[in-house]
């Protein structure tokens, strides 16, 4: 058995943007130690940010609530799972924002889930028996460097 790094990273964070940044840093360090390719590390950080920041900003969680992030190395990529106790929310049901015809018509925002969808090999959601949102994103390892 390889002694390190472990195949799974588990974090519990308070619902703040500062904690999201801490979680990204921990994820980055864990993946770098596992010698993951830079593109996979970048995509993992981006997906973690989009999901966690969404929960922090829109989940309506109490200040003392905790959000969990699990990162698990799959055979050819990475699976990120976020659990939170906010109102039931299936991110897969959010429609894509319309493509603006011009800068004047552009409505800033709503791009986070579009980015996640674009990077994900698979998305899964369930409302658990314990009453948590459980959202999982599978990222394939890039075939080519960097």
């Amino acid at each position: 058995m390889p002694p390190e790094p472990a195949g799974t990273l588990r974090l519990a964070l308070p619902p703040t943007l500062a904690a999201v940044a801490d979680a990204q840093a921990a994820l980055r360090a864990w993946l770098a130690a596992a010698k993951a390719p830079p593109a996979l590390i970048f995509n993992a950080e981006l997906v973690a940010e989009e999901i966690l920041a969404n929960v922090v900003r829109h989940g309506g969680l109490a200040n003392d609530a905790l959000v969990s992030l699990e990162a698990r190395q799959a055979c050819d990529g990475l699976c990120l799972t976020v659990e939170d106790g906010g109102a039931p929310f299936d991110p897969r049901t959010v429609p894509e924002p319309p493509k603006p015809a011009s800068l004047d018509q552009a409505v800033p925002g709503g791009l986070g889930l579009k980015l996640v969808r674009g990077m994900a090999a698979a998305l899964a959601y369930e409302r658990t028996a314990a009453g948590l949102n459980r959202f999982s994103v599978t990222l394939a390892a890039p075939r080519h460097g960097p």
């Binding site: 943007l17 950080e45 791009l111 980015l115």
Partner: protein, 113 residues
Amino acid sequence: MELAVADHAADVQLVTLTGRLDAAGVERVETRFTAAVVAPSRHALIDLSAVSFIGSLGLRMLISVARTMHRRGHKMVLFGVDPLVRGVLDSVALNDLIPIANDRAAAAAMLAG
């Protein structure tokens, strides 16, 4: 997340962002970036060569500022984008809304064009 402002030409300023445009970075820099780019009523070249990460909140900040400048008759051009950051910009077709150049000279040429 750091921000530096310099003159590129009389009617063009050069704004350099350094760091990560993640949720926490955007929270720290957004007010300063908006003030630095919009307030002077000049065109702006935005140097992203030292930005190593961008998420949707960073995209939102760039689109929001570019839209405000556009309404005031000024242009904003991005340049020097890191390849992984460029992948994010391309995945939302940002280039359709905000011009993206390879380097500062090409960005300045886009302002003139």
